[in-house]
């Protein structure tokens, strides 16, 4: 895409990466439109791109053995797929669906890693941003898990009421884990 278009649809990102890196990133990303209800990432499916939401809203849910849990939503400015970019296991950790007509920037993993040698500054800035994001998610998730353990929810839930609280607790932890908002 053109640099001007990147600056138009993702102004904050363009500012964070700087004027030298913006043209580089613009050349690496694609802009994708999603219709309402369109699945961007299927649950437990291989993921080969990193995404940034530039308009609209994405819904995040997760399936267990017999249940599906709606976790929350991701709006403008949210990254999607950062775990799969860095983890050896590149499968998705949740299903991501467009809740409304939406637009995302797509950065293929192959393009990100190929840019490491030629454009280390851009890769460094993006990696640092994603590291800060994942670090904060891990930290806030651990705090919530620790609180849950103290209050006897989580693994120790046995009664029906406890299991109801458990489901809400699982949702709130997963919101922290995914960055989705309820």
């Amino acid at each position: 895409m053109e640099t001007a278009r990147l600056e138009e649809v993702a102004p904050k990102l363009a500012q964070r990466i700087g004027s030298r890196n913006a043209p580089v990133l613009a050349a690496l990303v694609n802009e994708r439109e999603l219709a309402a209800g369109e699945v961007l990432i299927a649950d437990r499916a291989p993921v080969s791109s990193l995404f940034l939401v530039v308009s609209g809203e994405l819904r995040v849910d997760m399936g267990g053995a017999t249940q599906t849990l709606e976790i929350g939503s991701l709006g403008t400015g949210k990254w999607v797929g950062e775990i799969s970019l860095f983890d050896d296991d590149s499968t998705s950790t949740a299903r991501v669906t467009a809740a409304a007509p939406s637009r995302v920037l797509e950065l293929p993993h192959a393009s990100f890693w190929a840019a490491r040698a030629e454009h280390p500054d851009l890769v460094n800035v993006l990696t640092k941003e994603l590291v800060d994001l994942m670090s904060e998610r891990l930290r806030s998730t651990r705090a919530l898990l620790s609180d849950g353990a103290d209050e006897g929810i989580g693994a120790s839930a046995t009664s029906r009421a406890d299991r109801g609280a458990n489901r809400n607790w699982i949702r709130s932890v997963l919101q922290k884990l995914t960055g989705a908002e309820g």
Binding site: G64, D87, D89, P120, V123, T127, V131, N166, V173
Partner: protein, 150 residues
């Protein structure tokens, strides 16, 4: 094997220049542990990162979702540990014990900061290691929570 050659063959540091690799090799202190020695204790302040050179290290972690102490993985030569707490100044999230006689390269926070500031490729290599570790930890928690959806 010389530490310099060991680093050069490491996937994280393969792209470093000869001089950056030399600087990194000189910054590491070599330390040995006997089988059964604790190297990192979970929940304690992290001041060093470790590069496993010889032997095997077992990583354990208290799973806050299940309430159980889990054996997370067995580390092999070439793997880093202790990195996350060095970066974010938080208590260590896992314990690490030598299961065989072990030789590690140890890098303290001061040495790490000096290296990261002086050589961008070294900083980027460590950033990738941190990102990989964070992604793996987030996935592990995700899987633990998913198993509770019954």
């Amino acid at each position: 094997m010389q530490l310099k050659h060991f680093l050069k063959s490491h996937s994280l540091f393969r792209n470093l220049s000869v001089s950056d690799c030399d600087a990194l090799a000189h910054a590491f202190e070599i330390r040995e542990y006997a089988a059964g020695d604790g190297i990192v204790r979970e929940g304690k302040p992290g001041k060093e990162l470790y590069l496993l050179i010889e032997g095997e290290v077992r990583v354990t972690q208290y799973n806050l979702v299940t309430g159980e102490l889990e054996e997370r993985k067995a580390l092999r030569p070439g793997e880093l540990f202790g990195l996350l707490s060095l970066i974010d100044h938080l208590p260590t999230a896992a314990g690490c014990v030598a299961t065989t006689p072990v030789k590690v390269g140890v890098l303290g926070r001061t040495g790490y900061n000096l290296l990261a500031q002086s050589a961008a490729p070294i900083a980027l290599s460590f950033q990738f290691a941190v990102a990989k570790q964070l992604a793996a930890d987030l996935r592990h928690q995700d899987e633990s929570l998913r198993r509770m959806l019954v």
